[in-house]
Symmetry: C3
Subunit: 365 residues, 3 copies
């Protein structure tokens, strides 16, 4: 029986009730499966929560996600072809409809009902394609966290994908914590050592955790400062919002020294979709004011985004590797004050996982 999340975790002590790399992946949530523009008329494979899935679009452009494993002989469907709205297995030519039902078994010249694929509920949402990984018959749309404003008038964005050989939880911890900016991301010159101690304000409400920090006299990428015509010194307020296992929305509000002060808002959307317990699809988008957009700013955004997030990815992969390599008896990670936001997120996920186990146990009775 899984332990209840311990409400009385003491900062600096051994943690309990905190999700870790052994916590079962959470199923009854929406995850971003891909950027919408990754899904075309060509089959595309991606493994999510240890299920192998094939994506494509029908003739009218509707996205489809079905199991990437023919129920007949386990052949991967992504190596097959798209025929009209159907995906055709490359081994025996079995055809499947977008809802997973069989369209044709050539050898039977029939379409038995017993031959079918799991089909996954999807939601297209701005640049993102979301997938429901729980019971396909009961997608819970109240759990969607829409990000469609990303492609609304007034906003533009840059984005990228990285494959990360590490558990997704480390990325959640990383993102709740700005104290690593001056060290891990030192070369981008976006935070100073003294910012490491900036205090955090944390709110928690059900499955929502929001954290806020202020970096005074913040250094910002010169391309951005120039494009937005900001005047130093500037303050940066960082907001962090986590509501589901697969997404962290960061918001950076910059206020400059102009009279009256200029205010610039950026959203940095981090997507961490677990592939397995030890690998993650890391998708990111930085959404910002279209009015300040220039080719140079855009390039700068992309460079800093890809550059800094790559540093996080490499750091988390290094940690994953050392956990496998270093067998040090009685080692326990220590928690410091700046970890509070991350630990609260991990504690929330541990509680969600316990709830999911209970629901599954009830359903199995």
């Amino acid at each position: 029986m899984q332990q209840q999340a311990d409400k009385k975790m003491k900062i600096g002590s051994k943690s309990t009730g905190v999700a870790d790399r052994n916590t079962p992946l959470l199923r009854n949530y929406w995850y971003v499966a891909a950027f919408s523009d990754e899904i075309t008329r060509e089959p595309m494979r991606r493994t999510i929560l240890e299920e192998d899935i094939v994506f494509y679009r029908t003739q009218d452009g509707t996205a489809v996600a079905v199991q990437n494993r023919c129920p007949h002989r386990s052949f991967p469907l992504h190596t097959g072809t798209i025929k009209g709205d159907r995906i055709v297995c490359g081994y025996h030519g079995i055809e499947f409809n977008p809802d997973g039902s069989c369209g044709l078994v050539p050898a039977l010249n029939a379409a038995p009902r017993s031959i079918r694929l799991d089909a996954y509920p999807l939601v297209e949402d701005g640049p993102f394609l979301w997938i429901w990984m729980g019971d396909p018959a009961n997608p819970d749309y109240s759990r969607m966290i829409y990000q469609d404003w990303c492609t609304s008038p007034g906003w533009t964005h840059v984005k990228g994908y990285m494959y990360m050989k590490a558990n997704y939880l480390g990325l959640h911890e990383n993102l709740m914590d700005l104290s690593h900016f001056a060290f891990l991301h030192a070369k981008w010159n976006i935070a100073r050592p003294e910012h490491a101690a900036a205090p955090s304000k944390i709110e928690e409400d059900g499955n929502m955790i929001r954290q806020r920090e202020i970096h005074e006299d913040a250094d910002l990428p010169p391309a951005f400062v120039e494009a937005a015509a900001l005047k130093a010194p500037m303050n940066r307020e960082a907001q962090h919002l986590v509501q589901i296992p697969g997404m962290h929305v960061g918001t950076q509000i910059t206020t400059d020294a102009s009279e009256p002060p200029k205010r610039d808002v950026q959203h940095v959307i981090h997507i961490m979709t677990p592939e397995t317990q030890t690998s993650t699809h890391y998708l990111w988008a930085i959404a910002y004011d279209e009015a300040v957009d220039t080719e140079e700013l855009r390039e700068g955004m992309r460079t800093v985004g890809e550059g800094a997030f790559m540093e996080d990815k490499v750091a988390l992969e290094d940690i994953e590797e050392i956990v496998a390599r270093d067998h040090r008896p009685n080692f326990r990670e220590k928690i410091i004050k700046t970890d509070e936001g991350g630990i609260r997120v991990l504690r929330m996920f541990a509680r969600m996982a316990a709830e999911e186990q209970e629901e599954a146990a009830v359903a199995a009775e």
Copy 2:
């Protein structure tokens, strides 16, 4: 205790009593270890049924197969040398005779009886070298399925070897089933979609399964049609014969539209020798009428053989990979009518495996 093979398997339902990738490899049978011409005076290593074996020929040309692991310090013998009829370990110079007995331990200047190699009974048979993987003291020659006619007058053959990272059983299923020809092997233009539904006749008798199918108006490789001077439309009768775990003999009988009809026979011998539960030595030979042989036909045979069998190999490796990757709860492969031959073979092997376990249990008492 292993389940008895279920005689009442229902097509389309969950199968039981059917060998799968977890079924223990069958030991008390002859397997093709190599093509005869692979074995020379140079030691050659091959792992079969998870036993590492070294092969070579004595001075008079007799093939030898002994364990590829010195009983002294586990050094691989294939890195050593052949000295007369003996194989000499490269570590301490210990010499072994073809029967596995020790010829010399240089450090003792003696040949202790306790130092010996497992030696494997072998049979040379046309292009094939067979090995007995059961008790070496009791090879059961009644279980040999000779293929020596391959090199008899009137016959010629082409052949090839592929290493397949997949369990051997998938290849048995694949070969009993012509319904994949029009799809997986589409580019070779050797079957039409409507052939997928061609009915099969299956006979079963003890450890023998024979299946027959007819493809009417069959497409055959143009090089072959030309060489054999066949006249369309042609019918192709395919026969499939399985009697042991490591071989499937396919026979293709083509009848053309000449008056009287010309009849051409080819044998396609598929050898699947398990290396481990997840890897297989796949050797094949296509034997055909020497009278129609030309350089062009020979090239065509080789191209289609290597090409189509490579497609099978890749498909089976893709399946092996997806089985490891896709953790989809409650997934069970579905069976359709054209799988009957393959399923019968897997059921026969499950029964053989159960018998082998029982024999081993009796022997251990």
Copy 3:
């Protein structure tokens, strides 16, 4: 409960009480972690006994070894930087002193006592840096086997490092046994087949085993014979000394045919520091008379050293591979007379391991 070492091992029979690849690695001993000159002001990572360790030197040149895993978020410290005498984590900038205590957590602007690294006792000893892998609070200096004479007046040495993907015990066996010289090292022409049978004299006293063998009319590397102006025929006495799990000291005493005979002494120090149960850091040094040193001899020493030890390394890796590959029921390695020294060493280690387990059990009470 671990079996007591069996004092009555019969040569040629199944061995018991002998350390093998499954015996727990021995902790309460000194191991050579590195050559001293490998440790600089740049952090250097090495995993020893499955603990990942980072090495560097302080400003005054003192060597430091601390756990290569930040206690905060498991980040590898070797990717960080050295700042004065401290090592600084690259993730959140946490600073650690050479004794493992925390110097600064920037986010706290404090140095909590609970945040600390394991620090390893070290001894610099001639060309070697030794590390104590037992309880860091109680290094047992009586267990050090100093080799500082290597860098004393009158002596010079060549040395090298090899990473070996094999358990360290095979190297101990290999080194107690000269009977493989004429075979595995045949190309170096340093022993003749008849030397394989040279008898050994073995002394054992507590944790010390010394073995001696004489090769009469020995072949020696020509560069060495020339440099030392030796006159054939020569006799070589080989001494082997093992006192701890991580070192084998070989001594070769050559006596030539001059009147009076010239006597030349070389020490060949073999270091086998286990990384894991299946991988080993293999460091070697050949120490010899400075008086005979020439550039040519030095090159010859290095060539033969690297060449022959590489052959041993490859042989032991081949054995490790075959043990994983070959699943031959009831296989047991056989012991011959020339293995006695090696078997005694493995038996001594088995006894040490049993003692260590008993001590650990007592300590845990």
